[in-house]
């Protein structure tokens, strides 16, 4: 019953707890999901941000830096140009206009500076200002961009770490949580296992997720860093390429401007003056001197526009004929043939020293040059040829041609007007490879990149002007070049000379992160596996534990049942043996029968012991506090043991210190205590065997009152013997169940060795200690302490009441104890005092008594003589001496063991009034005294108990409930015999009706198994009813004692009885003593 309760209760609790836990898990999962989602979102957002940022930053940077570069170059160039101009001319109508538009996220700066015929300083300052501002702004911007980027990247990194940390924390928390979870519910295995499996799976998944997250994070990091590095590389390339392209372009433009200026110079001084201020010498000298202005040109030449009609005149004027360009043999200048007849000629009249060989060559005769010339005069701008091999130098080059007009043409002049106004052409040849070479040398880090310049005017056939096909072909940056001729398109291709290095910076940190991830994964995997195994082991252990417990319970139940079942037939066996022994048997048969009887008794006691042991082991033995009289209890104990003691020839005595309170509230198990005390002594006996009590002589059963607080009493109980003692080597295992001092002991003295272990456990239950001192050959002293409550003398528990009357009779009697042993005499005195004999004298022998206190002897009412001190002759003499006395003292002989023959002899001698067998007991002593003093009858003695039961039950209204008529009848008769007024009913329902308060019944005996309403149910209902009544009526408490009548008294039934409100039970059929003890509790008030 109780087990079932215990089982069901945790179940209930568990389900509740489980619900709570599942909701918790759900909550945590949802939280985890939210966190992860949020992290992902923020991460992607951050990523987007940084990308945008980078893009804008790079845009700004490149444009601004390029522009800045442009300005810087422009500034430098224009300065030198102006210097040169200053030295020669003073009027210049050139308009310099710079426009700059700069856009960035923060600052939008639009600057436009127009300087028109300004003072040099002003212009310069303005330009500088612009440059400075642009530079600074670009710097700022760049810095800002980088700063942004760094911060963002840092933040993103932080996010990554936060993510990892969160995942780990959640994982860890989950793990701890899971562990807690595990420890919090342990009972339901299946549920548990499922839970565990789920938890394990969850953990594994979590770990996998973490590892995947870690790996992807590492990959992402690597990709991110690598991308950045590549981006930076590309950016560097772009920057460098752009820089180079701008520089080249600027240089070229400057040169072109200068050539333009030269053309104007020629128009002004050659055509504008008559006679011409320039001849070949002046031109050569001037051009040579200003060659630093045109570092890119290999030479300049001026050709005059000559129509065919003017050819002869022209040839005459100059003294040479117009020659045709010869491409076959460029080295041979002398071999120029006269130019074939054409509409128009363009013979060179002035040329720089470096190209003086082309003087008189008709520029119109070369195909490229002709086209160039035509285009130049039509456009009025500088025009470039496609690259071709230059004369003499054999390098690839381009020719820049400017037309020289005789009038100052307006801007919107038509083509026709321009052609008409043309009077000559100024050409400059550019040597491309050397040009680029020169340029690149001016710039830093020319080693790292290779530069190619292409003419892409004709997209299908791109002409390479400079460069080689080396370097890393994978990345290339193309910048367009504008050489001022809209017809021509040029491009600059830049690439790194070396392949990109392995990006260690991008590989290492993510690599480490990856390694850490895997390491952590490994560790956690190990931990998870460990947890799983531990959980599994735990499960197994719990299962085993449950099984072990079940087995233990089964064992106890089995023991209880079997013991119970064995006891019943054993009673039969014993009874029959006893009967057998009463029949006529010969000595041999009697011996066999006695042996069998003895063995049977031993078996029963063993079974009882085993039962007790099992009870204690299963923890079902609970101590209940019931008041009892220690002295009376000890009397019972000694009487129980007296038989055994007599068999072994042991003298037994009990002494209780006068300090010990009369009534003690102790464990309910006083019965057991009694038995245990018994078995204690039995074990003692068994172990040490009392071989020669009389020889050593010192013995006692001694109780001392030790400590006394307000309501708790600690008792010291000592059991002494003078036996063989316990061997020293066996002393340590004395309290182990089924352990004898040695195997020979059991053979010699018998016994199972279970008694002491039971005693020990009982004493422990009573919060006491047990111990012993033993000396082989001297004896053993066992002692134990126990804590008991104390109570006022209560007549119900003291057996004294039974003898109250007699004790009063004995008051005032004088007694003399004659005993050769002091201690024994002391014990006798103690017993006499208990029964009320107040003045007790002690003498060692009759002789000493008669000599020392002869006068006293006369007045003595009682003389108790120990058999050891018995001397027949002496007493004959003494008796004869007393003959005259009016009231001779009664003489009582205290015998330890006497054969019946001896006893009858002593009795018949008439010297002794009574013989009392030791151990002394109160009841025995009282009987004996009553008999000797003639105050009591034998009849009264024999009928004492039943009479008492009669007293107890007399006039009481008792209800007997049983469905079997026979049982009813028997119970009725038994109870009637004790004077009770019995009412019988035959069913639970009827009983319920009868017991409906108010009623007159003092008690009810209830059968348990009845049709319709059984005893349990009836009792329950009656109790409910009583409770109701008690609530209504304050004055009287209804509680009818209900006792179960049952044939099988087993633990479970007993518990069930108590549980449904019964007060106790009596076995059916009634046994007098049992009936008395169970009824006494209720009626003895």
């Amino acid at each position: 019953m109780s087990i079932a309760c215990e089982l069901s209760n945790p179940n209930l609790k568990k389900t509740k707890a489980e619900k709570r836990i599942t909701t918790k898990i759900l909550l945590i999962r949802v939280l985890c999901g939210l966190v992860v989602l949020w992290l992902c979102l923020s991460l992607s957002l951050g990523f987007l941000c940084i990308c945008k940022k980078k893009e804008s930053a790079s845009d700004d940077e490149s444009s601004s830096s390029a522009k800045g570069m442009l300005f810087r170059n422009q500034k430098n160039v224009s300065r030198s140009e102006i210097d040169a101009m200053l030295s020669l001319f003073f009027d210049s109508n050139q308009v310099t206009s710079f426009e700059c538009r700069k856009e960035s996220d923060g600052i939008t700066c639009s600057l436009s500076t127009r300087s028109e015929k300004e003072e040099d300083e002003e212009e310069e300052e303005a330009k500088r200002h612009v440059v400075a501002e642009l530079m600074s702004s670009s710097d700022n911007d760049e810095e800002g961009g980088v700063l942004h980027e760094v911060v963002l990247f840092y933040v993103i990194n932080k996010w990554h770490w936060w993510l990892v940390l969160c995942v780990l924390l959640v994982g860890g928390g989950r793990m701890i949580f899971a562990r807690k979870e595990v420890s919090s519910f342990v009972q339901d295995k299946q549920q548990q296992q499922q839970q565990c499996k789920r938890a394990g799976q969850w953990r594994k998944n979590m770990l996998l997720l973490c590892i995947i997250a870690g790996v992807s994070f590492s990959v992402l990091w690597f990709w991110d860093t690598n991308e950045e590095i590549l981006f930076q590389r590309k950016e560097t390339l772009t920057n460098m390429c752009e820089e180079r392209a701008r520089v080249l372009q600027d240089q070229f433009n400057v040169s072109m401007n200068h050539v333009h200026a030269l053309s104007i110079l020629v128009s002004t001084f050659h055509h504008g003056k008559t006679p011409s201020a320039i001849d070949q010498k002046t031109f050569g000298e001037y051009t040579e001197r200003t060659n630093f202005e045109r570092p890119l040109t290999s030479g300049v030449a001026y050709a005059l526009k000559v129509t065919h009609s003017e050819r002869e005149k022209f040839e005459k004027e100059h003294g040479w004929s117009i020659k045709k360009m010869d491409f076959e043999d460029q080295t041979l200048v002398q071999g120029f043939d006269p130019a074939p007849v054409q509409d128009e000629y363009a013979p060179v009249i002035f040329a720089q020293e470096t190209v003086s060989h082309i003087v008189s060559v008709d520029m119109m005769s070369g195909k490229e040059d002709r086209e160039n010339i035509l285009r130049a005069r039509a456009l009025g701008k500088g025009v470039l040829t496609s690259p071709f091999k230059l004369l003499k130098s054999n390098h690839l080059g381009v020719i820049l041609t400017f037309a020289v007009y005789n009038t100052n043409l307006p801007h919107d002049a038509t083509e026709e007007e321009r052609i008409q106004a043309t009077i000559g052409y100024l050409g400059a040849s550019y040597d491309m490879p050397s040009l680029v070479e020169k340029l690149l040398q001016q710039l830093a880090s020319k080693q790292t990149i290779s530069v190619n310049v292409y003419d892409t005017t004709n997209a299908s056939s791109v002409i390479k002007m400079y460069g080689s096909e080396v370097g890393d072909m994978s990345e290339e940056h193309i910048s367009s070049l504008d050489f001022g001729d809209p017809f021509r398109k040029h491009e600059m291709h830049c690439r790194f000379t070396q392949k990109p290095p392995i990006p260690w910076l991008a590989i290492l940190p993510p690599g480490f992160a990856l390694v850490i991830t895997f390491l952590l994964g490994h560790i956690f995997n190990g931990a998870i596996n460990r947890i799983a195994t531990v959980e599994e082991d735990y499960q197994k252990m719990m299962e085993l534990k449950a099984r072990a417990e079940a087995a233990d319970v089964a064992k106890s139940q089995f023991l209880a049942t079997v013991s119970h079942e064995i006891r019943t037939p054993m009673v039969g066996v014993l009874g029959m043996l006893k009967l057998l022994m009463d029949t006529d048997l010969d000595a041999k048969q009697l011996d066999f029968a006695e042996t069998a009887h003895g063995s049977g008794k031993d078996l029963i006691s063993l079974i009882n012991e085993v039962l007790d042991q099992a009870k204690i082991e299963s923890g079902r033995l609970e101590l209940e506090n019931v008041p009892f009289d220690l002295r009376f209890l000890l009397d019972n104990v000694s009487s129980l043991l007296s038989g055994k003691a007599a068999e072994k020839g042991i003298e037994l005595a009990v002494y209780v210190s006068s300090n010990v309170p009369a009534v003690i509230v102790g464990d309910l198990e006083d019965e057991i205590l009694k038995q245990r005390l018994g078995s204690d002594e039995t074990s003692c006996n068994t172990l040490s065997g009392y071989p020669a009590v009389n020889a050593s002589g010192s013995w006692r059963n001694f109780k001392t009152f030790q400590d006394h607080s307000c309501d708790k009493t600690e008792l010291l109980v000592t059991v002494e013997d003078t036996g063989v003692g316990i061997p020293v080597d066996a002393q340590s295992r004395i309290f182990t169940p089924f352990m004898q001092a040695d195997s020979s002991t059991s053979r010699t003295y018998g016994g199972t060795g279970i008694g002491l272990s039971i005693s020990k456990r009982l004493v422990e239950l009573m919060q006491g200690e047990i111990g012993f001192v033993s000396k082989p050959g001297v004896g053993t002293t066992f002692s134990f302490t126990g804590v008991f409550g104390e109570r006022e003398r209560d007549s119900s528990v003291t057996a004294l009441e039974l003898f109250d009357q007699s004790i009063q009779e004995f008051q005032g009697l004088k007694a003399l104890v004659i005993d050769s042993r002091n201690i024994r005499a002391e014990v006798t005195r103690y017993h006499l005092q208990r029964v009320g004999v107040s003045s007790v004298d002690i003498a060692s022998s009759l002789a000493t008594a008669s000599t020392s206190c002869a006068s006293k002897l006369v007045n003595m009412d009682l003389i108790l003589i120990d058999k050891d001190a018995w001397n027949k002759e002496e007493y004959v003499a003494f008796n004869s001496g007393q003959e005259t006395s009016t009231r001779p003292p009664k003489i009582i002989l205290l015998a330890t063991f006497t054969t019946p023959a001896e006893l009858s002899e002593i009795k018949s001698s008439g010297l002794v009034d009574e013989v009392v067998m030791k151990p002394l007991r109160m009841s025995v002593l009282v009987c004996c005294l009553q008999e000797t003093m003639g105050s009591g009858g034998k009849k009264r003695q024999t009928n004492r108990k039943p009479k008492n039961l009669g007293n107890l039950l007399r006039g009481k209204q008792i209800l007997v409930v049983d469905d079997t008529m026979v049982n009813r009848r028997v119970a009725d008769a038994v109870l009637r015999k004790y004077g009770a007024l019995v009412t019988c009913v035959d069913s639970g329902k009827a009983a319920f009706a009868m017991l409906k308060p108010p009623h007159d019944f003092h008690a009810c005996f209830m059968d348990l198994q009845m049709p319709e309403m059984d005893g349990f149910e009836a009792t329950r209902r009656v109790r409910d009813l009583e409770e109701e009544m008690n609530k209504k009526e304050e004055s009287r408490k209804w509680h009818t004692p209900i006792l179960a009548m049952t044939a099988d008294v087993i633990q479970a039934t007993n518990e069930k009885c108590i549980k449904c409100g019964m007060d106790g039970f009596v076995s059916k059929p009634f046994e007098e003593e049992e009936l008395y003890s169970s009824v006494a509790r209720f009626f003895d008030k």
Binding site: L579, V970, A1047
Partner: protein
């Protein structure tokens, strides 16, 4: 002399009842309950027992002869019989009832039938014996003798 012999034979007969295990100490207690105020107590109770048992055995036979045996009905009967037999100290009947009940618990129809036979046998045995005992007693009483008190101590 005849009376003494009758008393002796009664004593022997009673003893044999105990030795055969037909009766146990409970019967002695019943005898002790019988006194002046209630001179026929034992025979009254025993007669009651016979009436009761006859009825129960009848019921049991009927119940067990059913096609489908309702053990819930059988068990209380057996329990009752056990209770009453233990009350008068009919030990062997009681023991047979214990076995009977265990078969009832197992719902073993075959075993129950066997047990019923056993119980009946034991019951008729105890009935015969007790009836003989009462006859002897009556004879003694009729011839003016006292029924000797039995002293059986275990």
């Amino acid at each position: 002399m005849e009376l003494v012999q009758m008393q002796k034979s009664l004593q022997d007969y009673t003893k044999s009842l105990f030795l055969d295990g037909v009766l146990d100490s409970q019967f002695l207690q019943l005898q002790q309950l019988q006194d002046e105020s209630n001179p026929d107590f034992v025979s009254q109770v025993v007669t009651l027992f016979f009436q009761d048992s006859d009825r129960i055995l009848n019921d049991l036979s009927l119940s067990l002869d059913q096609q489908v045996v309702d053990f819930k009905k059988v068990d209380p009967h057996v329990h009752q019989l056990k209770g009453s037999s233990s009350s008068i100290g009919a030990q062997r009947v009681k023991n047979a009832c214990v076995v009977f009940r265990s078969f009832c618990e197992q719902q073993n129809v075959e075993g129950c039938h066997r047990c019923l036979q056993q119980v009946k046998q034991e019951y008729y045995l105890v009935k015969n014996r007790l009836e003989t005992l009462f006859k002897l007693e009556q004879q003694i009483v009729a011839s003016g003798g006292m029924i000797p008190a039995m002293e059986l101590g275990f």
